[in-house]
Amino acid sequence: MTTTVVHERIPEPIGESKPRLDNRKKVTGAATYADDMQFGSGLLYARILHSPHPHALIKSINISRAKALPGVKAVVTGEDFPGFIGLYLQDRHIFCRDRVRYVGDPVAGVAATSEEIAVKAVNLIEVEYEVLEPVVNPEFGASPDAPLVHPQLSEYKVVPFILPQAGTNISNLFKVRKGDVGAAWEKCAAIVERKYRIPHIQHVPIEPHVAIAQVDETGEVTLWGSSQSPFAQRNLIAQALGISQSDMRVVAPYVGGGFGSKAGVSMEALAVAIATKVRGRPVKLRLTREEEFYTAFVRQELISYFKMGCDKNGKILAMENRFYWGGGAYTEYGVNVTRAAGYSSTGPYEVPNVKTDSYCVYTNHPVGGPMRGFGMPEMHTGLEQCIDDLAHEIGIDPVEIRRRNCIREGSILVTGSKMHPTGLPQCIEETAKAIQWGQKASPSAPNKRRGKGTAIMWKAPAMPPNAGSSAWVELAEDGTVTVGLGGQDLGQGTFTVCAQMAAAALGVPYESVRIATPVDTRFSPYEWQTVASRLTWSMGNAVVSAAQDARRQILDLVSEAWGEDPEDLDIRNGVVVSYKSEQEIPLKDMVIYGLPKPNDSGWMGGPIRGRGKFMPTYVTSLDPETGQGERAVVHYTTGSQSVELEVDLDTGQVEILRGASSFDVGKAINPEMVKAQMEGGFVQGLSSALFEEMKMVDGYMQNPSFVDYRIATTTDAPSDLQSVIVEVPQDDGPWGARGIGEHSMVATAAAIANAIFDAVGIRMEGPPFSAEKIYLAMLDAGIVE
């Protein structure tokens, strides 16, 4: 395959903050989302009957009364769909068959001529349950005393790099055994041991999940949905239904926020399954906000134990970490979160002796899945507080201990791999400078205490070793360019960035590039998923490769027509030019109809269509006992965040005064959008640090609405939010680029926790660091009366 590295010259418009392609449509309301699509009077509405119990056996289901209700067109249950579904571990049926595993588990589905009738029908379905003891704590869930959530775990189909433990609730165990941890402790001058607890939170996209499915007379399926992963949905739903991937078409219009919740498959399979029973008629399913909380993916909870030690100079000698991930009822996707946390378990530090056990544990909670950061925020929130405590223990400044231990080019990583060039040390300096680290400002009022905190991070794209991308580039009669791709724009701006890359690689103005949307698996080229912050790098490589292919075809044609060496030709601003003969010809004069041969002897060329693909070919497997291997991941994006805040002694309220982020993105294709990611991630991280928590009691969520699930708004964000881009190029990224979407919220909660400690000297077991929690901790510590 062709390499797409173009380091020698940075062409326009790479590195320019071009306006987003979708600005106008989104601001004017013209953009069409899944729920806006019109399907005419034949549309049926689906509603789902959910389990009211966290854990129970289904003894019987009676659907006869629901079926008899006028207007009801289909009632389905798990009996109708025996297939399994899941990304890494197929542990899920579309509808429950014998057992329910969380409050919200789908038990039956209805399609009716109106949403109201569907609701009535759902209420007529009678289910008899035998209630079982739920597992609500992952650490207990991993123990032999816990009731089994999935007794058939050992029979499930699973990818080779996920290791379920038969006869337990542990659906993946990732182990690291590096060096000799036992022998290292006695060489340590300071050792700290800590426990942290990170609650479930949710993505809360402004647009809840919505899907419309239609099955035609021949059995071909079309699914329209708010989706990050049209191709993964095609693959997984087809497998579950036992149909060909080619008979499953997914169309993905604009998305109103995803953050991971619309990756893989969740409720989309329900809509498709119901639609198979009412052939010819489209079936729409949309989640209420309550259903979004209960039944869409949530972020896994985590109970983490850290033990780390350093010598008298603050050099970290050993880490011993245990992670109990509350994976929820199904961990088909979540198992890989726990693997990622395992192979990244030291954080961005070079540590010679490491022991890690990262357990993915079934619980009777909502389904844990991918969320922005993919395990890294949860892990770093503990780890980066522990590093601070270690610094204080040994008497070294928290920023200094990070300088001394952070990974650099050539560092030996936790998996034994070698670190590629990284700008992490520079990121640390940038954020320290931005908040004037080391200078203590006085509080704004006598009843306030001021503090600063910093935390650093790393994150690799977590995905199968061979996740691929593809693209095409076509030109129209007027020389404008259309790029076909299969990744999705969730608001992060990937379409704009890909248009910039296509323009640069081909040699046309940015304004003449379009993206072929909506992504449609029937017409768009393959893309694994819009996850892992991998699109700029992976899909970008495919787009560049396709644009270069088109460029080659154009230059070959012109060189033949002009009798010149292609090396002397270039495409500038949509015009082919010869540096030798100084001839020129606009693209529009040749990209469709080709060019005449000399002496009226016919034509050459034809419609130009470039093709490109990218797939990493170098990721190796890791030893299941030691977690060691040659190359665990494609690369790591690294960075640092710092905050300054005040704690109100009267109330415990935290006000973030300023924040700073610096990440090594390799190359910022569109710097303003990179900064927007850094700012957005900071605010989402802030929100998870101070406000967000799914309050679970015995498997039931107590706050399934925005009344009591609080998220940060602009008023909670600091007005002083600095974002500093560092660019140390990635060897196989387009112009050196690597991802930034998720990284920006990984270190935020830890930085805030460290700043709270700096301000008032208290540590809490975990977020959210609510005013109440802080006030009561200050009370316990005797700071307030």
């Binding site: 409050v103 109330t651 708004t713 006030y775």
Partner: protein
């Protein structure tokens, strides 16, 4: 909660032409009809299945309900359908009833306040109602039109429990009346939410104060608390302490302690009773100190 209806349930929208017609309809359909003005609470509760009314009787536009009038000889009258943003933007409200203007601006969000009404906030009778404390401390009374005609309900005896009031079937509150403010009146509302905007109160503290020669201290300072008792709570001890003894840091601390002792909050998903009690003290102290400063200390 999980099975919350995806949309509003069916109901009939009734638009009466007169107050008498409204009262008659509401009385004839007691238990299944409800007056509607802004709807910001009604629609949420109906959608959640908490309220199952068959009829909503729109009182907007009925006699005086859309008017807000300040009469320098009588005081302020706020029609039941006047949106909160109109109230807080009214120059005479800002000038003469600062505590109310302050409280109104802390209800939910600006967007919501374009629909929400103060009378709705009062009739909802939530212990967390942000504007109720000010209305109580400012001596508010409601004009009510019932099946037997018009009457007045003083707010002091209006609240009977969470969501429960002195209103009877057929009653339509047409306006809130606040008497002329005492000379030198100042006021303030402190709200503690979990984040900065749009939250329900974990606790709310309303304080008003004015110079009063009849008080030994020379000041009359009153305090009301939200979200710490089954009904909005006026803490009479605060007024007594700060009237009887000279206003000092010590007496303010004593009054704040009295506010803490007077309240009986519960544990809920928003906060614990323990935290609420402490916040009743701390924020009372803060609010009283600020009022004292405003009064010229």
């Amino acid at each position: 909660m999980l099975e919350a209806h995806p949309g509003l349930p069916e109901f009939d929208y009734i638009k009466p032409k007169t107050l008498a017609e409204a009262s008659r309809f509401l009385a004839d359909h007691a238990g299944e009809a409800r007056p509607l003005s802004g709807g910001t609470d009604i629609f949420v509760r109906m959608r959640d299945g908490v309220w199952k009314d068959k009829y909503l009787v729109d009182i907007k536009g009925l006699d005086g309900t859309d008017e807000i009038v300040y009469d320098p000889s009588k005081g302020l009258t706020i029609g039941a359908a006047v949106a909160m943003n109109r109230v807080s933007a009214h120059p005479d409200v800002k000038k003469h009833y600062a505590a109310l203007a302050d409280a109104v601006d802390k209800v939910a969000s600006y967007q919501l306040r374009n629909r929400a009404t103060i009378v709705g906030n009062i009739c909802n009778a939530s212990p967390a109602g942000d504007t109720i404390g000010a209305c109580l401390l400012l001596g508010g009374a409601l004009d009510v039109h019932g099946v037997d005609g018009a009457r007045t309900e003083p707010l002091a005896s209006f609240f009977e429990g969470p969501g429960s009031t002195a209103l009877k079937p057929g009653d339509v509150v047409t306006s809130l009346r606040l008497p002329l403010p005492p000379k030198g009146l100042v006021g303030r509302y402190y709200k503690l939410g979990r984040n900065k905007s749009s939250d329900l109160s974990i606790i709310g503290v309303t304080v008003v104060g004015f110079p009063d020669k009849r008080a030994a201290s020379g000041y009359r300072i009153k305090l009301a608390l939200a979200s710490v008792a089954p009904t909005p709570l006026v803490v009479a001890q605060v007024e007594e302490i700060l009237a009887a003894k000279p206003v000092t840091e010590q007496t303010i601390a004593e009054a704040a302690q009295a506010a803490m002792d007077a309240c009986t909050p519960i544990d809920d998903v928003r906060a614990s009773a323990r935290y609420r009690k402490m916040m009743a003290r701390n924020l009372s102290q803060k609010a009283l100190t600020e009022i004292w400063n405003q009064l010229g200390r």
